[in-house]
Amino acid sequence: MLCIALDYRQISWVNLPIHIRSNVWFCLEWVAIGYAGTLATGLQCVNGLYRIYDLVENGGGNVAWLDTQEWYVATSTSLDVISLASAGGALKEAVTTWRAMKSISSLKATEWLKSYPRQDRARLTELIIRAQNPGISNKEIKALIRAGLYPKRFPTGPVQVELTRQLGQVVTSAAALAGSAVSGVIAAPSNLPQTGKYIIGTIQSLAVF
């Protein structure tokens, strides 16, 4: 992405063109979603532990009281939504990678981590060059490779590391979705409008106060 290639220390923010600035904001938003997702998932983790402990040790007295509280339902629904948004971002990235790999690979997806033939590596290299130089022609790609600016075939090591990383992301995102399907927004979508009303009501009461 464009914003990753920016060296923040050398370029003044005010001198940047507007489209680059919006790209940087887009990336900062993703970073913010990432942090919010971590915080939300952490809180969901301790919330789950609280509920299990209370059910086992106290017969669920505190949990029953909490479930009747609007603020608790609203908070857990909001945490679930944040967590799902974060998981959705990771899944989107994984799906984009899967599509790109599928378009160039002759192997099944399950074999990508085991071996990678020479022809597929050459196609992957071409795909990377095209991604880094939008609108480039086949002739220019060949010229760049001949000039030694790009290798003929990228080594498989970094590709497999990236695929493993994305596989991990898919697993954690699936865990977030499964958790939500058991006891979250996906299981009880009716909590969403209630939470929305509660949040709007809280904002209105704060405005009056």
């Binding site: 942090y35 971590t38 809180l43 301790v46 040790e57 009281w65 493993t164």
Partner: protein, 195 residues
């Protein structure tokens, strides 16, 4: 020192020691910092982030839930020992410290990812505090025969996993990469200034 090595693991302790040496060199703000770097290394890390290899932060990410589990399962038996707390106070006494703990863990992880040794010190401090708390709780329950041991057994296993992860090659590689990146950036700035 040997006792700390025994508690947190020799590899983690060596990593911390190396970090302290680098921090000392950075703190002096003179050309001695250049002894730890080379122009090739600085050129390598001065490339755009998109050209640098992406690192695997999972060992650090795994520590977050493990520490949270150990923390929550220490706090819950403590709170249940306090009599007369209303459900609201009970929930607040649990969720407010947990929120603080989650925030602290995120800050520590960010410091580690920026190559600062304070991140490692933070993890070590949390690990030792939680280990001591768990041991005290276990002793208290064994002596008083009051309450279940299962939360503390799970907390102990979580801490054991934390120790394994903190001494794993993935964690060490991630920490060293981030540290080297920071060192190379500072050394490059210093080299450019001295010209």
């Amino acid at each position: 020192m040997k006792f700390l090595s025994f508690l947190t693991g020799r590899v983690f302790q060596d990593l911390l020691q190396h970090g302290k040496e680098i921090e000392e060199a950075i703190g002096q703000r003179d050309t001695r910092l250049l002894n730890y770097s080379t122009p090739e290394l600085e050129r390598y890390f001065s490339r755009p982030l998109s050209e640098l290899p992406r690192q695997n932060p999972y060992p650090v990410a795994v520590l977050l839930p493990l520490f949270l589990v150990a923390f929550a399962l220490n706090l819950l038996p403590f709170l249940s020992a306090l009599q007369g707390l209303s459900p609201l106070h009970h929930a607040l006494s649990f969720f407010v410290p947990s929120l603080t703990m989650t925030g602290a863990l995120i800050v520590i992880s960010v410091l580690l990812a920026r190559g600062k040794t304070s991140g490692l010190l933070g993890f070590r401090a949390l690990f030792i505090i939680l280990l001591i708390t768990t041991l005290v709780h276990v002793l208290h329950i064994l002596l008083s025969h009051n309450g279940g041991l299962w939360p503390l057994v799970i907390a102990s296993f979580a801490l054991l996993f934390c120790r394994v992860v903190m001494n794993s090659s993935g964690f060490v590689l991630f920490t060293l990469y981030c540290r080297t990146q920071r060192l190379a950036r500072l050394a490059r700035e210093m080299r450019l200034k001295s010209r």
